[in-house]
């Protein structure tokens, strides 16, 4: 595999980067970079770490970095996953308030520790923002641990961007992907349909039953998408050859925020001809300028979730008996 890091790859402009990933020769990974500047979303770093672990450190090469931002890549811990990589002399000062280096998370306990330690480092101005971020990271990592069927676990990192007052979070795995995970209970025609289905409230690969199983409700991704939607944040899910990107709500919708159980009703873009990602990648931006508190979002989730279940039940039972002479 070959990956070239461009000078900019964030959720808003990430499509060309994803399309450029060369997935031939899956046993090796070679990463090159833009010669003068590299600025990428944490999701990209999580993807690279996940790929490097998948091919094995000895088969993962990070070519020489001439861009000044090579220091940043090292500080985020990316080079730790590569057998061959550049080295920069940097002062490893306290990362508080700026970034959370890449962590490989293989157990629930590691997940709880990662989240507990990351929150104080982000210096969030409001408790509800901490609640939202804890919720997002926990649900995403738990999805990997429970459903991805990979021993490599989840790769997660985050960074605060002062220019946009936004925390960007990326989580990647190289497991079975959303479509195969859902296929235990839901048949889908392609990866894009599977991603969209996974965003409906109450859809889980563990059962077709409304309300889920004792351990799984199928609400995690819907709650996360809802947080992003209400706050006008970007959210992206990439699995197989498909990507779903939640775009920001328009200003016209400012006065009445209505959550959609059906992701097709959200302002979004999709692509279904990307290089196949064996696993799942999720990226999300959380604007700290948002005014909608987490509790208010949860209240919206509550009403939308209940309505979605009622509608699905009505749909299921709407067929009438057919009488013939």
């Amino acid at each position: 595999m070959k990956v070239h890091l461009p000078n900019s790859a964030f959720l808003g402009n990430i499509d060309p980067f994803l399309k450029s990933i060369d997935i031939s020769e899956p046993g090796t990974l070679v990463v090159s970079t833009h010669p003068t500047w590299v600025s990428v979303h944490p999701m990209v770093l999580s993807m690279l770490a996940a790929l490097a672990v998948k091919v094995g450190k000895e088969n993962a090469t990070f070519e020489n970095v001439t861009a000044r931002s090579g220091h940043y890549l090292q500080r985020m811990g990316l080079f730790n996953f590569f057998g061959t990589c550049p080295k920069f002399d940097i002062n490893e000062h306290d990362p508080s308030g700026r970034f959370i280096p890449i962590a490989q998370i293989k157990t629930q306990e590691e997940s709880t520790t990662f989240i507990t330690e990351m929150i104080p480092m982000l210096h969030l101005p409001h408790t509800w923002q901490a609640d939202a971020i804890r919720h997002i990271v926990s649900e995403l990592v738990r999805n990997v641990l429970e459903h991805a069927e990979t021993t490599d676990g989840a790769f997660a990192c985050a960074q605060y961007f002062s220019s946009s007052n936004t925390i960007r979070i990326g989580i990647a795995d190289t497991g079975i992907g959303i479509r195969r995970s859902l296929s235990r209970s839901h048949q889908t025609s392609d990866h894009l349909e599977a991603i969209k289905l996974s965003l409906f409230p109450g859809i889980t690969g563990t059962t077709r039953r409304e309300g889920g199983t004792a351990q799984n409700a199928g609400a995690g991704l819907f709650v996360i998408k809802s947080i992003a939607y209400v706050n006008r944040d970007l959210f992206l899910a990439y699995s197989g050859d498909a990507m779903f990107k939640l775009l920001r709500r328009g200003r016209k919708e400012e006065e009445t925020v209505v959550l959609h159980a059906n992701p097709n009703l959200d302002n979004h873009s999709t692509t279904d001809n990307l290089p196949t990602w064996q696993g799942t990648v999720v990226g999300i931006d959380i604007s700290l300028d948002s005014t909608e508190e987490f509790n208010a979002i949860l209240e919206m989730v509550r009403s939308t979730y209940g309505k979605a279940i009622r509608e699905r039940k009505e749909e299921r039972y709407k067929h009438a008996a057919r009488f013939i002479n």
Binding site: H135, S138, R209, E210, N216, A219, G220, F294, R302, G306
Partner: protein, 95 residues
């Protein structure tokens, strides 16, 4: 009357579904047998994920139905925990 102090097992952030499952099967469900009552005390817990609350109580609704809410109490909940509990209680009764 069984009271379960959740901070002792989860700390300030409750997200470990494995522990939730253990509490549900070993403490909550047995305590609700024979018309027993249970109080889940969230004192000290700042927030809990929806998955955690689901793992903690959803099966209780399947076993005992919505009437079980007369015998299970949620104590000292932060506002976000209260909201998450309401989400789970609602969709379990809808489904």
């Amino acid at each position: 009357m069984k009271e379960i102090k959740l901070f002792d097992v989860f700390g300030v952030f409750a997200d470990n579904k494995d522990i939730a499952q253990k509490i549900r099967t070993e403490q909550i469900i047995p305590a609700l047998k024979d018309e027993g009552t249970v109080t889940l005390d969230f004192a000290g817990v700042e927030t809990a994920t929806q998955s955690l609350i689901h793992a903690l109580v959803s099966d209780v609704f399947r076993i005992y139905g919505g009437d079980v809410l007369e015998r299970i109490s949620f104590k000292n909940c932060s506002e976000s925990i209260q909201k998450v509990i309401e989400i789970v209680v609602d969709y379990m009764q809808e489904s």
